[in-house]
Symmetry: C2
Subunit: 114 residues, 2 copies
């Protein structure tokens, strides 16, 4: 399924919103931690060396977008991956970045040899 052309303004807005969701390092790092299974807010905050409030805020954003799921147990809340498709996209971009850096490394090597 492809994008309709010309891309309507409101659809562009929706798509860009999805990309912006993944356009913050902290959110990517949160999602990364969730790959190994569900985690509590405090657990994430500690592991990511951030504040509970900040992590909670980002989790709200991710949750509102359907990127993560919630499970409440006692007074702790566990979050987990809610959209495997988004994770696949992260992998895809990560691979792209690594390829790009691979090419950069080759260029640097060729310069070094000259």
């Amino acid at each position: 399924m492809a994008m309709p052309s010309p891309l309507p303004d409101d659809l562009a807005e929706l798509i860009s919103r999805q990309f912006r969701l993944l356009g913050e390092p902290m959110r990517l790092r949160i999602l990364d931690r969730l790959r190994s299974g569900e985690r509590s807010v405090g657990d994430l905050a500690e592991g990511l060396d951030s504040t509970q409030q900040n992590v909670s805020k980002h989790l709200q954003t991710l949750y509102a977008a359907g990127a993560v799921e919630r499970r409440k147990d006692g007074n702790t809340v566990f979050y987990s991956i809610g959209d495997p498709e988004l994770m696949a996209m992260c992998d895809q971009v990560c691979a792209s970045v690594e390829r790009r850096f691979g090419r950069m490394a080759e260029v640097l090597d060729s310069i070094k040899q000259a």
Copy 2:
């Protein structure tokens, strides 16, 4: 190829930068117009109902990231898609958004019937 876990801060920064590149409606719309072939800056500006300066600025951003290519002919500059992989990602997210809205439509219908 998957993301390394735990995701290093600098890699998270690089990946998020890629997502942010596509996180602006105007850039998505520019890329969309380029799907049908190379376009000049003024051409794009007119079609997108924006200013030449604004479109040019976004094109610089896209170019710096390798998302588009430049070709100069006389005193006009033609831009074209530089990274088909990014376009595939746009399609992917667009499809995801449409699926999501499809589900929303279903829910709304079920509510309406109740």
